[in-house]
Structures are given as C-alpha cells and as structure tokens.
C-alpha cells in the first residue's frame, strides 16, 4: 500500500513538474520574443491556403525594442515599431501614407504581460520534437479548459525558446491561423541604423490622422458576465464612413484569444445586421438591441460571441 502511494506521489509530482516546466517554457518564450535580437522571413497561410511573406528584424538595444517588418509579397508596406509605438507606411500609388498605431502584439511576441493568466483557461501539453526553420523545436499544445476558445500549438526553439511557429486550430480541427519562420538568424550586432524607412523622393509622404474620437464617451453599456477568462483590454470610439454616428469598439481577451465588440446606433432608414457568419479566421455574430447594433468579431467559437453579446446591456 505504501509502495502504491509512493508511486502515485511520484507520478503526480512528475506530471505537475512536467506541466510547470512547460509553463516555464511559455514564460521564457515570452521573454525571448522581447529580449532577443533576430531577423528572418515569416510566412503566413490564409484561409484560401495562399502564403504571404514578410521580412522581420527585431533588435533589443539597451532594453528598448526596435522592430521592422516589410511585406515581401504585394504592396511593399512597412512597419517600424519602437517599444509600443508603431508606424505603418502604406504604399498607395504615388503616395506613402503613414499611420500611427499602438500596442501591437505581433508574432512571435504574442503573449500577455502576465502569462499566469493563461493557466486559468488552458491546459498545457508537450506535443513532441519538430524541426522548424532549420532549428530543433518543441511543440507546446495549449488546449482550452472550456468551450469558449480554440487550441493553440506553439513550436518553441529548443535553444532560445523563441516561438518559431504558431497554429490556431478550431473545434472542428480546422487550422484557422498558421504563422511560421521559414528562416531565422539570431543577431549579435545591435546596430539599429536600419530602423528607418527607405525614402522614395518620387512619392509624397502623408500622415493619416484617423478620425478616432478623443474625448471621453459616456459608457452606456455594461456586460453582465464575460465568458470565463476574458477581460477588457482596449476601447476605441470613431465615426465610421457611411454611419453618421459614433461606433464603439471594445476589445476583450483571455491573453491569446481576442474579441472585438462593436456597438453603434442603427439609422432609421437602415436595417440592422443580425445573425452569424464567418470571415477569414474570424467568426462574427450580430444582434439588435434597443436601437443599437451589437456585433462581435473574433477567432473564438460562435457560442462565445453569442454569450458575450447576450450579456451586453444597454443603459439608457
């Protein structure tokens, strides 16, 4: 009996140690994506199985992150990002349109500030050894503990823990997101002279000031109960073209999955959009409540969107 309990204790400890080791790998992966300097080609596969490629350089210089991403296919759009400030350069015929964004979480830096949050909603497994971008890696599988989110598969570099590949798989075992390095080089030179756009004198550079509403907006909605693990991470209000009213975008996340909820009044001459559909990797669910359209968009199960919208109450 004592022998049996000892074996049970050993096996339980082993499992716990294994899980905590895997979570520790996730923690290290988060740090590696911010602290290491690397460059490489990233491929992503869209819902039509088309491959899109971008060239990425990330340098951590004196604890400051510099990131440059260029599109290799199609329009040569460019992203320059310093810490949380992102500047996007869009090629538009004769013009280069510059737009400023904030707080992008781009692969491989996809983890929330507090990785511990993930433990509440995902179970972690070792998916085995794989070779990705000519490097040895370990696949880590994050399975949801409930029905409100999808499965995440991460391939972490064995040497540095840097994520080399990410796949998001829905409940029908369909891959809805697939990003991976096809080649990768770790940099020892912390020179950041490359951190500037290539100026084309033939083109006119225009800064695009988006029509976001800067003043505080009265929050006339409340969410009775969010799906387990989700919390509000972002809010925007802006006037959409074709909609003579302010639309509110509230973003909720569990650390890996994101849902945008758009709330706007429905003009009297327009029919509200209601129902469910899918666009690319995102599910979309919309409802009409008390003169307002509430639309949720996210790469999560449709039921999660439905529950979220059902719990939005409008306060008048």
């Amino acid at each position: 009996m004592i022998k049996f309990l000892f074996l049970l204790f050993v096996s339980f400890s082993g499992m716990t140690a294994s899980e905590s080791d895997l979570w520790e790998k996730i923690n290290r992966a988060s740090l590696a994506s911010q602290n290491l300097s690397y460059s490489g080609i990233l491929n992503s596969v869209d819902e039509n199985q088309d491959i899109h490629s971008t060239r990425m350089i990330h340098v951590n210089h004196k604890n400051e992150e510099f990131l440059k991403i260029e599109k290799i296919d199609g329009a040569p759009n460019l992203l320059l990002m310093h810490q949380t400030d992102a500047f996007l350069y869009y090629n538009n015929n004769d013009n280069i349109l510059i737009q400023r964004n904030k707080n992008a979480r781009l692969f491989p830096n996809i983890f929330p500030a507090n990785v511990e949050r993930l433990k509440e909603n995902y179970s972690i497994f070792n998916g085995g050894a794989f070779r990705v971008a000519n490097r040895q890696s370990t696949m880590i599988v994050l399975n949801p503990k409930d029905q409100y989110r999808f499965n995440y598969h991460l391939w972490l570099d064995n040497e540095t823990y840097l994520p080399l590949k990410l796949m998001v798989i829905d409940n029908n075992q369909k891959t809805i997101e697939n990003i991976s390095f096809t080649n990768l080089e770790f940099l020892s030179n912390y020179d950041v002279s490359w951190f500037s756009p290539t100026v084309d004198p033939q083109k006119k550079y225009i800064i695009n000031e988006e029509n976001k509403i800067s003043q505080s907006v009265r929050k006339f909605w409340s969410v009775e109960q969010l799906p387990q693990g989700f919390e509000e991470v972002s809010y925007n209000a802006k006037r959409y073209s074709g909609l003579n009213a302010i639309a509110h975008q509230i973003v909720y996340s569990d650390g890996l999955s994101y849902i945008s909820v758009f709330i706007h009044p429905v003009p009297k001459n327009q029919k509200p959009q209601t129902g469910s559909t899918q666009k690319g990797s995102n599910n979309i669910h919309a409802k009409y409540k008390q003169g307002y359209q509430i639309m949720a968009v996210g790469a999560v199960p449709m039921n999660t969107l439905s529950i979220l919208i059902d719990n939005v109450n409008l306060i008048k």
Binding site: N211, V251, S276
Partner: protein, 158 residues
C-alpha cells in the same frame, strides 16, 4: 295655341300682343310644355343650344376613326400599323406592387427601430455585408499576424 307658340318663337309678336300671348301660354300647362319643346328644337336648329357642343358629333366620329383596333390581351395594332403596348394596365399593377412593398418596408423598419425588445436572432448574416472597416479595425488591434497587420488598420481620412 300652336299658332301663338309659333309666333312667340318666331319673334313675330311685339309689345302688348307678346304679353297677352305669354299670359295665355302660362295658363295652359300643355301649351307651356309644347313651347319648351319647340324652343329646344329651334335652338338646335339655330346652333344656339348651350349644353351641346355643335362640334361634338364630328369630334366623336374623329376619335372613333383614330381609335386602334384591339385584338387580344391588351396588345393591339393601331390603324397606323404600329405595334404598341397597353402599359396603363401594367403600370397600375406595378404601382400597386410598389405600394405594397413600400408599406411592408415601412412596417419592417418600424418593427426594427421602434421595438424596445431584443430582436431575436437565428438567421445567417451575409458575410459580404460586414463592413471592411470593422474587420480591419478588429485586425489592427488584435491580429498577431504581421502580414495582416500591414494590410489592415488603414482607413484613409485624406
């Protein structure tokens, strides 16, 4: 009495004779009725009958001559040998259809916009109806795919 009536109509009586004849006529209802009939005939003969357009008959005949010959289902061939379509018959049906559609549309909008209850949802939303701006705004904040990030999030305000 007929002679008196005839004299009055022919304006042959003058002065006192005219007054006496009228008094006689007024006393006899049969004579008065006859007088009215004679007067009407006289007016028509003299083209002085006010309620009847003297050109009416000729106008009616002219219209009848110009009227096309109908042969079936509203399609007919005119006397000028050109084919035409009796659109009025169909315009009415079309207008009625439009009216019904308009009333239905009003009723639907009223339901959508005035109901204080939640609109029940169990239908399929048309994917193409989703505003690109909404999808791009979602991507510009939430995507982890650098490629999507470089494509989404830009809305020209210039």
């Amino acid at each position: 009495m007929s002679e008196i009536i005839s004299s009055i109509i022919d304006n042959e009586l003058k002065g006192k004779d005219f007054d006496v004849s009228l008094n006689e006529l007024a006393k006899n209802s049969n004579a008065l009725s006859k007088y009215r009939t004679y007067l009407m005939i006289s007016d028509v003969i003299n083209n002085e009958y006010l309620d009847v357009d003297p050109m009416l008959t000729s106008k009616i005949m002219s219209k009848i001559n110009n009227e096309p010959t109908q042969f079936y289902n509203g399609f007919f061939r005119s006397n000028q040998s050109s084919v035409s379509f009796d659109y009025k018959k169909y315009v009415f049906v079309f207008a009625l259809g439009l009216l019904i559609a308009f009333i239905l549309s009003l009723a639907t909008n009223f339901h959508f916009n005035s109901s204080s209850n939640n609109y029940s949802v169990n239908e399929i939303l048309a994917s193409d109806d989703i505003s690109l701006e909404i999808i791009e705004d979602h991507f510009s904040i939430t995507t982890r795919n650098p490629n999507y990030y470089l494509e989404a999030g830009y809305h020209s305000n210039i």
